[in-house]
């Protein structure tokens, strides 16, 4: 069973030549089978947490540690982290012109699994996963994320999540910008992965709506670059009723 451990993580970003601190000491443990929701207002550093764990070059780790099953993730390149079992569903998935979805998925699966999946089984696997997410089969021949609607991009992220079966999945605002039907489909996909019990999920969101469809085991309130409150699912209800205001004031 995999464990992601984040200890006293401090991260800064380069802003006009000066290092601007964003994360100020994050502590969090996510185990396979658990679902953690990180909720916070815009600008609180939630996405920075997601991207710095994934290894985006824009962010500098100034102190702290992130380990997956004891292995130091911060020492690894972006692709090594993914192969170690990390997955980041992005808020704004990137267009890659000229690279077809089918080629991309197979290349990624080959990298993650360490060998090329058997073609016949793979085609079936992708087809079924696409059908479950209501993705048109013609989609496979389109360029990655190019000309996709917001909903298509998010479904494509969840398709990858289902195919790559990571140890730890970080979902960065996967719910934002989705209509209710798309939100349900995407949530069902995430729940299928959770039900395997083999993936730990870190759900980063600004809105409480998605928590009606994906029930977290733990809720963390994120303000000013760190976790300021922790609790069970009831904390989400509290946030829905009262908003972040109380926590923002307390953090200042």
């Amino acid at each position: 069973m995999s464990v992601l451990e984040i200890r006293d993580l401090h991260v800064s970003v380069d802003a006009e030549g000066e290092a601007k601190p964003i994360l100020r000491g994050v502590d969090l443990t996510v185990k396979a089978g658990q679902t953690h929701a990180i909720m916070g207002p815009n600008g609180s550093g939630k996405s920075t947490l997601a991207y710095s764990i994934a290894g985006h070059p824009k962010y500098t780790i100034t102190s702290g540690s992130v380990t997956l099953d004891g292995k130091d993730l911060l020492e690894m390149t972006v692709d090594e982290r993914a192969r170690a079992g990390m997955f980041l569903a992005m808020q704004y998935p990137v267009e890659v012109p000229g690279v077809s979805v089918s080629n991309f998925l197979r290349t990624a699966a080959t990298a993650i699994r360490g060998e090329a999946p058997k073609l016949r089984l793979w085609v079936k696997e992708v087809k079924e996963a696409m059908a479950r997410l209501g993705i048109d089969p013609a989609f496979a021949e389109r360029s990655v994320n190019e000309g996709f609607s917001g909903g298509e991009k998010k479904r494509h992220e969840i398709l990858q999540l289902e195919l790559l079966k990571p140890a730890i999945a970080i979902l960065d605002e996967t719910d934002s910008g989705l209509d209710i039907d798309a939100l349900k489909i995407v949530s069902e996909g995430v729940n299928r992965v959770r039900e395997t019990g083999e993936t730990g999920t870190l759900l980063i969101t600004h809105y409480t709506r998605i928590l009606r469809y994906i029930k977290p085991d733990f809720v963390h309130v994120f303000v000013g670059g760190r976790i300021v409150e922790e609790g069970g699912p009831e904390l989400a209800d509290h946030l829905e009723a009262e908003g972040y205001e109380k926590f923002v004031k307390a953090a200042v």
């Binding site: 070059p57 692709d79 980041l88 990137v94 990624a108």
Partner: protein, 412 residues
């Protein structure tokens, strides 16, 4: 079939028309330009001319100033359709012949507006004529292969392609081997005809080519022009398009990959385009993509689009993207859009030159794909999109492989 259309005989006094006041001048900004089929009407190039400032004239072997040496060996044409053992005869509806430069078609579309083009016009006594009959629907791509044998001595050529009303055809100008060449290509797209012209410059290492291509597209006609430049030491291609009636359109795509070794003799690939909208309700789209690898690789892209006052309802867009794979390479990219009427559907241009997109690499790597593989995917995708527009599988394979080999050499 094999025909020779290159001739060392000098043809003097070719018909000359046009000039400064010509209403068909390719651009208002060029209205003052000399237009003539006679080389003697043009001053020798010095390199100080705006249009030649990027081109290393010393590598032109005298094509620019009359000091070129006549060749003793001439390139050969081979025409046909792709078959298992080379080229099969031309299909029904397509004919090829040589015509004299005095034929009224020659020069009816393109009047040279620079010295090497006029030099080619003056030197070439004959033109290859490829004709596609009206209403012919030609299923198989027609290959017009030009194979050069040596870079020793300069050769000059002329090609005239005429496609009749409502015909549909794909023609591939496949330029291979070794040459020092200046040539002109005229393309007449009949009313309602649909033409795809794939123009490949895949010359051997030391080759030099200065080429002008000009297309006139008839009412409701469509031309898809795909220029692929991979081989040769210096290739400078000028593609111009104009419309003869409303409802016509041109899509112009280009792929180039220049490599350099740092010895100041890296590949120089220069593409200049001029789309002249003088007729209402025509459409044009231009996408050129290039990659550069190695010190002193140099590419130039200058895309001019002119929308004249009469050309209401015009819809145009042009974009050039360059991917710089290593230090020391240089890509010049200049889109120009000149608009004389506001009553248009759309007009836009864009240009981007840079290294790999970090966000693309991050996205791919975040899915476990190693950085090298991610770069490979991105750069192959960059070209694959345009290569797939060619629609001739054998050719797509050959060009993809050629690009593949270069990337492998470049360590990408």
């Amino acid at each position: 079939m094999t025909t020779a259309t290159f001739d060392e005989k000098k043809l003097q006094g070719a018909h000359s028309h046009g000039g400064a006041g010509d209403p068909l001048a390719p651009a208002k900004t060029r209205a003052a330009q000399i237009q003539s089929t006679n080389v003697d009407d043009f001053p020798k190039l010095t390199g100080r001319e705006e249009e030649w400032r990027f081109t290393p004239l010393r590598r032109l072997r005298g094509l620019h100033d009359g000091t070129w040496k006549p060749a003793e060996e001439f390139p050969r044409h081979q025409l046909g359709v792709v078959s298992e053992d080379g080229l099969a005869p031309l299909p029904a509806g397509v004919t090829a012949s040589n015509i004299k430069s005095t034929d009224e078609r020659v020069g009816s579309i393109l009047t040279p507006f620079d010295r090497p083009s006029a030099q080619a016009f003056t030197q070439a006594a004959e033109s290859l004529l490829v004709s596609v009959a009206a209403n012919a629907v030609v299923e198989q791509p027609v290959i017009v292969r030009l194979a050069g044998g040596t870079t020793e001595g300069a050769v000059f050529g002329h090609t005239f392609i005429e496609v009749g009303e409502s015909a549909e055809v794909t023609i591939v100008l496949d330029q291979v081997g070794a040459v020092t060449l200046a040539d002109n290509v005229e393309i007449s797209v009949g009313p309602n005809a649909r033409v795809k012209l794939v123009s490949i410059a895949d010359w051997e290492a030391d080759s030099v080519q200065l080429q002008h291509q000009k297309a006139r597209i008839g009412r409701d006609g469509s031309l898809v022009h795909i220029a692929v430049t991979l081989g040769g030491n210096l290739v400078r291609q000028y593609f111009s398009a104009e419309f003869a009636g409303p409802g016509a359109e041109v899509e112009s795509y280009g792929i180039y990959f220049a490599t350099g070794s740092g010895a100041k003799t890296g590949q120089h690939f220069e593409h200049r385009l001029m789309v002249d909208h003088a007729i209402p309700d025509c459409r044009s789209h231009v996408t050129y993509r290039g990659a550069l690898q190695g010190a002193d690789a140099h590419t130039v892209w200058v895309g001019d689009v002119l929308i004249q006052a009469a050309a209401t309802g015009t819809d145009t867009y042009e974009i050039n993207r360059n991917l710089i794979l290593s230090d020391g390479a240089r890509a010049d990219s200049i889109p120009n859009l000149e608009i004389e009427t506001g009553e248009i559907v759309g007009a836009g241009h864009a240009s981007a030159t840079g290294r790999f997109d970090d966000e693309q690499l991050f996205y791919l790597q975040a899915r476990g794909i190693p950085e090298d593989d991610a770069r490979r995917l991105v750069v192959r995708g960059f070209f694959a999109e345009l290569i797939n527009k060619i629609g001739v599988p054998e050719l797509q394979e050959r060009l993809s492989q050629s690009i593949e080999d270069r990337l492998a050499k470049a360590g990408v």
